[in-house]
Symmetry: C2
Subunit: 205 residues, 2 copies
DNA sequence: TGATGATTGTGTAAAAATTAACAATATACC
DNA sequence: GGTATATTGTTAATTTTTACACAATCATCA
């Protein structure tokens, strides 16, 4: 299928997150306006997203929560799953590892990398940690195609290059430095300072 | 001045981040296309953002880096500064604290809150940590107007309510649950899983 | 069983964001 | 000093995103 707009993909991910909660609370149907309300969106927005992904609901009953989760998963999850590595297991890397572990069946954190001797060749939170010199080997061995970068900023470029060299397909960059990647690699960057400054700007009078 | 579009604010924050680096590397002028390239944006986009904030450069010389940093700061920083609290000093809260400390002169982390007896009434990374029952007091005492929420998801709503009760103006929510806030409070939410799923989606074939 | 009303699905309109196009202009070079 | 050229600033066009409007549909209940 044709790729969906990035914005829609983001929202589908968010919807799924709440839908999973709904399901665990025993809610089996949901209206577009309910879901919209939970996400500060409009009902039309939600329905349009659902339409774009080719799913449909029942008039007057809303959307079957379980089915919709499956439909979103059909879109977001690749059937054979994807393998992920975290590079840099400091404060942030640990937070991500801890948070992520076991949350998404189709996204498996397979390896961690760090230069700290305390961490190398240890199992952290159930996942093995290696020295970055083994990056190429491990990426191939475990068919890792996504890398999460949480190393110190001055190391970011170097590790990014290693990841791409090893054949990675997507990078999520949390370091402070914007990176350049070739066209065939997908890059997403996030910086908390931007979020905080945005909050500061809009919450100021 | 009229508020700028959120997207522009985000980009200005990002530009400033790189401009500060440029300055420290001794670069005193920068062209729109250089800045654009560093941020995966177009030169027009950069120039438009600059125009929107009412700054201007020199033809054939580009933008004075120092002046532009000041111009962005004029927009993003409130002159008297803003005070920030982090609620929940676990893995993520610590990562943020550590990362943020001293990075922005006009955004001061004034207080931390946690229920862990190991942390209460200790100084962590230079900032005092309190029990959340003191939230109202401390928020008033230090004129805190921004809260960063990194508590366990099931505590998020409760702490959000306390923050708003105490008169906070903006919230940055990192917990997994979307929150509802009244109109006079600005809310920004971020979830890494969405970012990772987006990377996974667009890096899949 | 038929009317009622709430909800979905979607064509169309509106708004927002981005990009193209280009005049204005300052610098460098001859 | 004049000319060529690279760059800014900005209007207009385009694209993308969101919202409106409403027909189609189907549970519910009289
Ligand atoms: N984007 C954000 O929102 C955000 C928030 C916090 C931190 N950060 C950034 O994330 C990065 C990590 O932050 P942190 O607080 O976890 O820092 P940290 O110092 O706690 O962690 C960095 C880790 O990387 C490891 N490391 C160093 N060199 C390495 C190498 N060559 N290969 C592999 N691992 C290496 C270190 O041993 C350490 O464990 C920094 O760049 C920081 O600026 C970003
Ligand atoms: N949005 C993201 O990208 C992202 C990433 C990682 C984690 N998270 C979320 O962030 C939150 C924190 O994650 P973490 O890994 O740091 O978890 P954590 O368990 O390490 O930290 C939570 C902290 O909150 C404290 N706490 C518990 N109850 C509290 C209360 N009532 N008041 C104040 N503090 C309280 C705990 O003592 C602990 O220190 C979780 O909700 C997690 O799901 C979000």
């Amino acid at each position: 299928m044709q790729k969906l707009p990035g914005k829609t993909v983001e929202r589908l991910s968010e919807y799924r997150r709440t839908l999973i909660n709904c399901l665990s609370e025993g809610k089996s149907f949901i209206y577009s306006h309910e879901l919209a309300h939970m996400h500060h969106k409009t009902a039309v927005q939600v329905r349009r997203d659902i339409m774009l992904m080719g799913f449909s609901g029942l008039q007057r009953k809303g959307y079957d929560v379980k089915e919709m989760i499956d439909a979103i998963s059909e879109i977001l999850d690749s059937p054979e799953g994807q393998n992920v590595a975290i590079i840099g297991i400091g404060h942030l890397g640990t937070a991500i590892l801890h948070y992520f572990k076991g949350k998404r069946a189709k996204l498996n954190i397979q390896a961690l990398f760090d230069t700290d001797p305390q961490k190398i060749d240890r199992i952290i939170d159930g996942i093995p940690c290696y020295h970055p010199e083994k990056l190429d080997d491990i990426v191939h061995k475990y068919r890792i195609n996504i890398g999460i970068l949480t190393v110190p900023p001055e190391k970011a470029k170097e590790l990014k290059d290693q990841l791409i060299q090893a054949g990675i397909r997507g990078i999520l960059n949390f370091t402070t430095v914007p990176l350049k990647v070739p066209d065939h690699v997908y890059l997403e960057e996030y910086d908390m300072i931007t979020s905080i400054e945005k909050v500061a700007y809009f919450s100021g009078k």
